[in-house]
Amino acid sequence: MENEIKVTCKDGVVKAELTGRLDAISAPALQNALKEVMDQPINDLVFYVKDLEYISSAGLRVIIFTKQKLGVDSKIYFIGAQETVLEVIKMSGLDNFIIIQDAY
């Protein structure tokens, strides 16, 4: 599957569609795409990850970094995560602050 990152922002909700692999190779592209939309007020950051096969700590770092920039009141969602991705989220303790759901 091709890696694809698509980030849009509307009414304080950032929608990030991730396809393929979020690893050390593709994470900088996500970081840059998120930076583009972070100058506006953001309440929710919603990752659509049903087609995300793989996430490594480079990907997790982008999420931690983004959450730290956004502040305590923002919420982060993972929608439709596959088991491999869920395992990594749990392993790193990020399930304490990422809201994992089937739909947003």
Binding site: S57, V72, S92
Partner: protein, 134 residues
């Protein structure tokens, strides 16, 4: 046993990753285990590419050894002496605002693999990651 040697540069990450992936995928693991092993491998590779040769250039050697009992990935470099296992584990209970960004990769390696060893031999860093087949 198969081996790849390349300059330890980020531009080679994809090639190194594909080398490990081809071998992990042909070993007898579930897709979930195979993906996790790849994540562990990536963390180890990235550490070498980013930190092993701060002021010089050098190579990374990866070899993969698939046996009926286990799959072992050995990562070698001749960079500055560094024992990844000397890093403290990150506190994964901390609120996200207080999380440190570093140390997570090694922590994940330790959780994913069944045995993780570091050796310094002559001027080599040798990092050996083993996953058992259950």
């Amino acid at each position: 046993m198969s081996e790849i040697i390349l300059p330890a540069k980020l531009e080679n990450l994809a090639t190194l990753h594909d080398f490990v992936r081809d071998r992990v995928m042909s070993a007898d693991f579930s897709k979930k285990d195979a993906n996790q092993i790849l994540i562990a491998a990536e963390e180890g590779i990235i550490n070498i590419l980013n930190y092993a040769y701060p002021e010089s250039e050098g190579n990374i050697i990866i070899d993969c050894n698939d046996t009926p009992e286990s799959f072992t990935i050995t990562l070698k470099d001749q960079g500055i002496p560094f024992n990844p296992l000397s890093l403290p584990d990150p506190d994964v209970e901390l609120p996200i605002e207080d999380r440190k960004i570093g140390g997570l990769g090694i922590f994940m390696i330790k959780q994913i693999m069944d045995d993780v060893k570091y050796e310094r031999k002559d001027d080599w860093n040798i990092f050996i990651l083993t996953k058992l087949k259950k």
